[in-house]
């Protein structure tokens, strides 16, 4: 009985493979792509437990156990990087969502289609440019000799500020630049959600004598709640992953700012590219990947409990 069952199943698997060979072939390029660029490097994470050197290769280099991690923890580096990465992301998520909702609600109040189109075009524009250009723009505004901000300060008779050596100013700058680049883009989802709200709710509210504020408070905001919760939960899942391009092009190799600006990605990039340090950087990367994986799983588990349809898997 059992043997017969297996043969039948195997046969049906072969049959399935044969029946869907064209569809399988159509998926093949993508599958090969992810094998080559994403799965094949995975065993290389072993470097985190070795004293890697080029000559002996990844699996020939001496095994050192958790020494690379010990170093990271003892030096306090891991804690600083984790703290910076998480705090920046929290600020991005909280302020970003508030701003996106506010912009979406106000955009919905605009009656003129022309005005709406033009202002949306302006708000999306920062999203289209490269991180390199974002860095150029920030330098343009903030540098000591010629920056627009210092030019303004000098014109009004004040003393120019050395922003590129004032670590305390950078959390604010990075957050503002991030919001500048992503708010227009992020508001699209909320705007679409507002467009989808049942019009009769607004009409009923108006008939009941609700003011514009009350309609926002009692109709719009509650309707946006599910979108908001899901978006926030998923961003929380990615809280260990920073926006490398933004941080690197704003701060770069400016060591005087690292205390407040260094995140996991920038630190790993520096280790690999300028110090050729593969062991510590792999250890940090592995820690980030595992921690991040646990967070995504948790976020997805919570989303699933709220509403199964929204869960990723």
């Amino acid at each position: 009985m059992a043997g017969e069952e297996t043969t039948r199943r195997r046969k049906s698997l072969l049959r399935q493979l044969a029946d869907s060979k064209v569809l399988l072939l159509m998926c093949a390029p993508a599958v090969i792509f992810f094998i080559v660029f994403n799965y094949a490097p995975l065993p290389g994470a072993w470097i985190a437990f070795t004293n890697f050197n080029y000559r002996d290769g990844i699996f020939g280099s001496p095994f050192v156990g958790f020494k690379n991690f010990e170093f990271l923890i003892k030096s306090g580096q891991l804690w600083t990087l984790t703290r910076n990465t998480i705090l920046y992301n929290l600020a991005f998520i909280v302020l970003g969502n508030i701003l996106q909702i506010a912009i979406a609600i106000m955009l919905n109040e605009i009656r003129s289609t022309f005005f709406k189109k033009i202002s949306q075009a302006a708000m999306f524009l920062p999203f289209f440019i490269s991180a390199v250009l974002v860095g150029v723009i920030a330098f343009n505004l903030l540098n000591y000799d010629t920056g627009a901000l210092n030019a303004l300060i000098k014109q009004t008779g004040g003393d120019p500020i050395k922003i590129y050596s004032t670590a305390g100013a950078w959390p604010l700058i990075i957050i503002v630049v991030h919001l500048w680049q992503s708010t227009g883009y992020g508001s699209i989802v909320y705007f679409a959600a507002i467009m989808g709200i049942d019009r009769s709710l607004y009409e009923a509210a108006t008939v009941d004598g609700a003011s514009a504020w009350q309609r926002i408070r009692y109709v719009t905001l509650p309707s946006l709640k599910p979108t908001f919760i899901i978006l926030v939960l998923f961003s929380l899942g990615g809280i260990m992953h920073g926006n490398f391009g933004l941080f690197w092009n704003l701060v770069g190799n400016n060591a005087s700012l690292f205390a407040t600006t260094d995140i996991i990605e920038t630190s790993v990039y520096r280790m690999v590219l300028s110090q050729n340090n593969f062991t510590t950087s792999t250890a940090v990367g592995l820690y980030q990947s595992l921690f991040g994986f646990a967070l995504v799983m948790t976020a997805n588990w919570i989303v699933r409990r709220i509403n199964k349809d929204y869960a990723l898997f």
Binding site: V22, P41, A102, F124, A148, E203
Partner: protein, 319 residues
């Protein structure tokens, strides 16, 4: 992502911004007028805030270095000059080479990427494809767990031998899990009856895809093509890892990255010699390079913006 998002309407309209105005009671309350006034003011201010930095760069690129050094960057060029652009195009070899590299990568990458992504998205959306869940998860898993920068770098640069090769950059940007999921979502809008009718007529799976589905997918192809083209055009990160200074012509944004970062060094070295700093248009040169690097996007922007809107809205609807 939520049932509040009406995807069909958005695809049809080709953009949220173009949606119909909200029907409302004709009589406006005082609070309505206040809210609308605030909305117009805040949206205007925010739009200006988004736009101003671009004006600043543009104006600086047309200024003389001396003015910039004396009065700093401003909104309007105080003295109009094309010196910086002349400087760039005096020896155009470098910038033209970079343009050719970036345009070639963008065009080929977008075309090949679109083909592979839409083929995969089509197969993964076919309900009668028994391996769709396995392959979807196989692709999705790569977003959950990665080897990290160092092992990936060693694998691609050393084991695959792609260090110093444009292919290291070109291949890695071809597709992302997110774009495949986005395409799969778009494919849902093709009625299943169309696929059925193709089957009845005896067409193979690939022919159904290429001749029946693709022509219906123009908005999707435009949206995903836009995202692909942007990632190729704006690429500097992979170039910094895998190309460095090994190639003669760097991709455009990476060239800009180098100009920005070496212009400072250049100015410092000149400052020690007898050459006057103001003769070397480093600031205006940087700004002009930035304009040259962003130019094509600004020119195409009005035409591509609407696809961008529909793409994000559909992308937010989970697959």
């Amino acid at each position: 992502m939520t049932d509040h998002i009406n995807t069909d309407g958005i695809i049809g309209a080709g953009g949220v911004g173009m949606g119909p105005a909200k029907p409302r009671a004709v009589k406006l309350d005082r609070s309505d007028i206040v809210l609308q006034t605030i909305s117009y003011i805040v949206i205007t201010l925010f739009a200006l805030f988004c736009l101003l930095p671009f004006v600043l760069i543009l104006s600086a690129s047309f200024s003389t270095e001396a003015t910039i050094m004396k009065t700093g960057f401003g909104l309007l060029p105080k003295d109009f000059t094309l010196t910086a652009y002349e400087y760039i195009f005096k020896a155009p070899r470098q910038i033209v080479g970079s343009y050719i590299v970036t345009i070639t990568m963008t065009v080929c990458g977008t075309a090949i990427g679109l083909f592979v992504i839409s083929m995969t998205g089509y197969a993964l959306n076919r309900k009668d494809f028994p391996f769709r869940d396995h392959i979807s998860f196989f692709i999705y898993f790569t977003t959950l767990f990665s080897a990290g920068l160092a092992p990936t770098f060693l694998w691609i640069a050393r084991d695959l031998g792609l260090r110093g090769s444009y292919f290291a950059v070109f291949l890695q940007l071809l597709m992302t899990p997110w774009l495949i999921i986005l395409m799969k979502n778009f494919m849902r809008t093709v009625p299943y009856e169309i696929i059925e009718s193709g089957k009845v007529d005896g067409a193979g799976d690939f022919r159904i895809f290429a001749q029946l589905c693709l022509p219906m997918m123009k908005p999707a192809l435009a949206t995903i093509g836009l995202f692909l083209a942007l990632s190729y055009w704006n690429e500097w990160y992979l170039s910094s890892l895998y190309l460095g200074s090994t190639v003669e012509f760097k991709p455009l944004q990476y060239l800009l990255y180098n100009i920005i970062n070496t212009a400072n060094a250049l100015r410092n070295s000149v400052a020690g010699s007898n050459v006057s700093i103001t003769n070397l248009p480093s600031n205006t040169l940087k700004m002009a390079s930035a304009i040259v690097a962003i130019g094509p996007i600004l020119l195409l922007y009005p035409f591509i913006q609407k696809y961008f809107v529909s793409g994000i809205t559909i992308g937010a609807v989970k697959g």
